[in-house]
Amino acid sequence: MDALIKKRIKQVIKGDQDAFADIVEIYSNSIYQLGYRMLGNRHEAEDIAQEAFIRAYVNIKSFNQDLKFSTWLFRIATNLCIDRIRKKKPDYYLDAEVSGTDGLTMYSQLSSNAPLPETELESLELQESVQKEILKLPEKYRSVIVLKYIEELSLNEISEILDLPLGTVKTRIHRGREALRQQLRYV
């Protein structure tokens, strides 16, 4: 896949806009997922993901082709999320998920290999508490936790994405883990 991405990037740089579609297709789910877990609702997740891809397109010539494209893309997207969190009123995002229709859409989205309704409901409740607790984390812990456990990236990649020393990333993961443990240990 890396070879395909490299090829597409070269085409985009040469002015072939259509070649960008494959890049969007390959990373759309993970970038959308990042936005959803960072911001807590689908609308903003889509918004931020779109903006991340547009920025990547506009700035593609500044991308160092020797590096991993996904790291660069995640950096753009994570920064956009963090900016958005900082601009938000602090109480807004806490309510967004609890009250809204998002739970329902998530419910309707749950996996197709249909488990028993009761289990499904339980798992839905669990999903919602996890999401709520992730959203309660201060942004600096939230980003490392989402990158590590939702996007399943390595500590080194996270340190590159956030432009932070490895030691800082570890400390933040440890604190994030501790905060989540305190909230989630009885679920």
Partner: protein, 207 residues
């Protein structure tokens, strides 16, 4: 009572998958004998499991199409600005050479005649040049004072001077497409041509 932080640090090392075998032994030994630490450790592992277990969200099905539709159309002027910014030295040198030769304005005014580069499979109807569907035109296509319709393929660059080009959805151009329509564009076109001639000289100093 809390056990010392060293054990908690070892737990984190373990969870980060960075623990060395010796420390892992120490941790395991301790957990065997300490209920409290064992509970803590299990809570960490459970927390990670539920976070990892959240269902994976999918971007909306029309996501890619929406992104593609909102990408900025790469305008000629934008391209030019970026080029000027990235190559100020070459730009200055080229402008100097172009103006020195003084031929730009006169050639712009003189060359009002319809003309087209010579490729056998180009079809000319009045002032419109057509790259027919299914045809492959090899080499750069240059049209002056006329229109260009691309329904087939051009293996090279396309330049339309004082006219317009239309690329059909089935049409394809392997190189760059460029329209030159105003005197300013015309200068720009010359500058770039000159620039590519002088680029070699500057390549060394640019690096």
């Amino acid at each position: 009572m809390k056990c010392n932080d060293e054990i908690v640090d070892l737990m984190h090392e373990y969870l980060d998958e960075e623990i060395d075998p010796k420390n892992e032994m120490i941790l395991r030994e301790h957990l065997k004998g300490c209920k409290e630490c064992e509970t803590l450790f299990n809570e960490y592992k459970k927390t990670i499991a539920v976070v990892k277990g959240t269902s994976r969200m999918q971007a909306p099905p029309d996501f890619t199409a929406k992104v593609m539709a909102s990408l900025p159309k790469e305008k000629k002027k934008v391209g030019m600005q970026r080029w000027l910014r990235n190559h100020p030295l070459i730009a200055a040198a080229s402008l100097f050479l172009v103006l020195m030769t003084g031929s730009v304005f006169s050639t712009w005014n003189q060359e009002r005649e319809f003309s087209v580069s010579k490729q056998d499979n180009l079809v000319v109807q009045n002032d419109t040049v057509i790259v027919p569907e299914g045809e492959v035109v090899k080499g750069d296509v240059i049209v002056r004072n006329g229109k260009l319709k691309i329904e087939g393929e051009v293996q090279g660059n396309v330049t339309v001077i004082n006219g317009e080009q239309y690329l059909a959805s089935a049409g394809h151009v392997t190189g760059q497409i460029e329209e030159v329509n105003a005197v300013f564009d015309w200068i720009w076109y010359h500058m770039k041509k000159t620039a590519f001639d002088v680029i070699d000289i500057f390549n060394e100093s640019e690096k």
